[in-house]
């Protein structure tokens, strides 16, 4: 019920809905790609700094520990992204639109 209420409360106005639709049609793909590029850079950074969590020791633990407080908020999403089994069709780069 709570979710249902939240959904109702968050219901956008008609103008807001149109703006969101237009963003989805025109802007989202570009924003998504920018996010993907950033995420892939961040993944490399995380692998370099706390890669030993996944069994890939790159940086000496001394530096990893010093960076840890700054990295903690990102660890769960990073692990989720890196450890998930992927296939090439998952990449937005290889999505075929328009058929």
């Amino acid at each position: 019920m709570k979710s249902s209420q939240t959904q109702t409360e968050n219901k956008p106005s008609r103008w807001q809905a149109v703006r969101e639709f237009l963003y989805g049609m025109f802007g989202m793909e570009i924003a998504e790609h920018a996010m993907e590029m950033r995420a892939s850079l961040e993944s490399i950074f995380m692998l370099g700094t706390v890669g030993d969590m996944l069994g890939v020791p790159v940086l000496p633990p001394y530096y990893s520990l010093r960076l840890l407080p700054y990295l903690v908020p990102h660890i769960s999403t990073w692990k989720r992204r890196v450890l998930r089994e992927r296939e090439f069709s998952d990449e937005h780069d290889y999505h075929l639109d328009g058929l």
Binding site: M1, S3, S4, Q7, P12, Q16, A17, V18, E20, F21, L22, Y23, G24, M25, F26, G27, M28, E29, I30, E32, H33, A34, M35, E36, M37, A39, T77, R80, R81, R84, E87, F88, S89, D90, H92, D93, Y94, H95, L96, D97, G98, L99
Partner: protein, 627 residues
């Protein structure tokens, strides 16, 4: 019949189908639940899995599925069978099958942790299903690339007012990528610059190309005359003779001129009306090469550098053209009734039984594969499962996003049908462009007809080209995945891209356009049948009533298998006996058709066995068996 009636009928059918059928399935069978956590919430990673507003996703999903498919299909079908069967299939298909496929694929992925359909088929049906699907997808892409390359090369060679706009599209695409991602300029400003320049280049392609008698003469225009001169110069390479000759028994090739008032087709520079031979001139080969270079850049450069901004501009061009034409279509019956009236025949009879030595285009099954994406498309299901399903915030958003976007795409197909139906003359693409030109005169006056038609041609090219460039991009990775282990050289992206392009151009040069399109349509609809099969098996596994997906699965499966065989038969009877390179192309297409047929049979058999397995197994055991 006029445009207003199509709008009224479509609005009523779509309203009824969405509110009284789709919503009922969503509530009673799938039982979408606003309280259930979606993969976007469970696995949020800020990139792939991200809860997103339904309005944003609706726009995103629509943009992902709408482009060339829903436009080329109705144009081709209307020319073969008339507008009435095309209209009926568009509306019935989307109401009973199209939305089912899109929506169900998304919901199955949502209920399976956001896994793709191929991964779900691996788990639910059989491990080999996934491998077979990759083979299937490669040949599917090869066919659609061949069909699209063929139609675009012919158009660029035949219409000197079109190439300038397409060259500017490429330049503006590269510029937009630089401005957006490197110079980090504002999206709205970038859009304003690149879209205005591209549209202006398309509209002014025929500028000045009207002679003193008021007739179209491309040697008069400052832009088009350059292209005419260039084409002539290129054709001198062979002394103006054909490099090769092909025939099209169905006369659907874009180079075949439309019949005159007496029903006879005139002989042109590339078409011999007496023999039915179509000449392939060096200028045709040049424009095919131009398109390959364009697509090569899109396939091998980082996507932000070229392919994505070109697609972005292309979508704007399409939307402006289609949106303005739609307004024209609605207003035409009130402002210019003569324009809104349909000029195309309602029904063109085609023989139901095959005649020896002649192409056979029976309404069933061929109409149902010629109009593919506007009614139902298998590719939507794949895209939906790997993209949209991972971003749904609530399960209840699945129907408005998946089903809603499919119904919206259907209106795009209807508009393409309206455009070709009101135009009196021209071939497939020409008829569409002439229709757009007529509809735009409702808004901008009769003087805009020439420019509106040019915009129609430009939009058609853009719609097809933006998809083709992505096809080569996907083809190269599919080829690497599929054959890279056996031939490691194919893992090199340049090798796999060039290999894909060589195979495609061989099909374009030796194949017959309409058969390429129909084979693609059959493969596309077969994929739809296979995605519906996965949905049906999943419904069975979940002990839900599978009827709403089962019957469309059976219809699409039988129809598309039959269409594949009919196309193979047509190739064998009409092209193979002519010998030469055309026969080689025909044999290649027959082999592809049979390959698609066999892979579909194998997946169908595996699906049937899985269905039986889940029918006999209690729910918990079925789930364990699947694991």
């Amino acid at each position: 019949m006029n445009t207003l009636w199509v709008v009224v009928i479509a609005a009523i059918v779509i309203y009824l189908a969405y509110n009284y059928y789709a919503k009922r399935i969503d509530q009673d069978i799938i039982k979408s639940d606003v309280k259930k956590a979606t993969p976007a919430k469970m696995y949020m990673d800020g990139v792939d899995f991200m809860p997103t507003s339904r309005n944003v996703l609706y726009g995103y999903h629509f943009k992902s599925i709408a482009a060339a498919g829903p436009i080329v299909g109705p144009i081709t079908a209307a020319n073969l069978w008339g507008w009435a069967p095309a209209l009926a299939w568009l509306l019935i298909g989307v109401s009973l099958i199209g939305w089912v496929s899109d929506y169900s694929a998304i919901m199955v992925a949502v209920r399976n942790d956001g896994n793709s359909l191929s991964a779900i088929s691996h788990k639910l049906i059989a491990p080999r299903t996934r491998s077979i699907l990759f083979t299937f997808i490669f040949f599917y892409l090869l066919l659609v690339a061949g069909a699209f390359m063929g139609i675009m090369s012919a158009l660029l060679a035949a219409r000197p007012d079109v190439p300038f706009g397409i060259i500017m599209l490429g330049i503006m695409g590269a510029l937009a990528g630089q401005m957006l991602y490197k110079w980090k300029m504002d999206l709205i400003l970038v859009t304003a610059i690149v879209v205005v320049v591209t549209v202006a280049a398309m509209v002014f392609g025929p500028f000045g190309a009207v002679n003193a008698e008021g007739k179209l003469d491309f040697t008069q225009g400052p832009i088009s005359s350059v292209v005419v001169g260039f084409n002539k110069a290129v054709d001198t390479v062979s002394g103006g003779n054909a490099v090769m000759v092909v025939t099209d028994p169905t006369n659907a090739d874009p180079r075949v001129p439309a019949p005159d008032a007496e029903g006879k087709r005139p002989t042109t520079g590339v078409y011999n009306a007496d023999t039915g031979e179509i000449k392939t001139l060096p200028s045709y080969l040049f424009w095919a090469l131009f398109l390959l270079v364009f697509s090569y850049l899109a396939a091998t450069l980082p996507i932000w550098r070229f392919a994505q901004p070109v697609n972005y501009i292309g979508f704007w061009v399409t939307l402006l053209t289609i949106g303005l034409s739609a307004i024209g279509a609605v207003l035409a019956p009130f402002i210019k009734p003569d324009i809104g009236a349909f000029a195309l025949e309602a029904v063109k009879s085609q023989p139901w039984l095959p005649e020896a030595g002649k192409a056979w285009q029976p309404l069933w099954p061929m109409l149902f594969v010629t109009i593919a994406c506007g009614s139902i498309s298998g590719w939507h299901a794949l895209i939906g499962s790997i993209g949209t399903a991972r971003q749904l915030e609530y399960e209840t958003d699945g129907l408005p996003v998946g089903g809603g976007a499919m119904f919206t795409e259907n209106t795009l197909a209807l508009l393409a049908l309206v455009a070709v139906s009101i135009a009196g003359t021209g071939g497939g693409a020409g008829r569409f462009a002439a229709g757009v030109g007529s509809l735009l005169t409702v808004l901008f006056g009769d003087g805009f007809k020439l420019f509106g038609t040019a915009l129609g041609f430009g939009a058609f090219m853009v719609i097809v080209l933006t998809v083709t460039q992505l096809i080569f991009r996907v083809m190269r990775v599919t080829l690497s995945e599929w054959a890279g282990e056996a031939m490691p050289v194919l893992k090199n992206m340049h090798v796999s891209t060039v290999t894909s392009m060589v195979l495609t151009i061989l099909l374009v040069l030796t194949g017959t356009w309409v058969y390429l399109w129909q084979l693609f349509g059959a493969a596309n609809q077969l994929m739809a049948a296979l995605s519906l099969l996965i949905v049906t098996v999943w419904l069975r596994e979940q002990k839900k009533n599978p009827s709403y997906a089962l019957w469309p699965t059976l219809f699409m499966y039988i129809t598309t298998l039959a269409a594949t065989l009919v196309t193979a038969r047509n190739l064998f009877v009409t092209i193979v006996p002519k010998g030469g390179s055309a026969a080689a192309g025909a044999w290649a297409m027959i082999i592809i058709a049979l390959l698609l047929f066999v892979t579909a049979l194998v997946i169908g058999w595996d699906g049937y066995q899985a269905y039986q397995r889940y029918s006999k197994t209690p729910m918990k055991k079925a789930a364990a068996a699947a694991d």
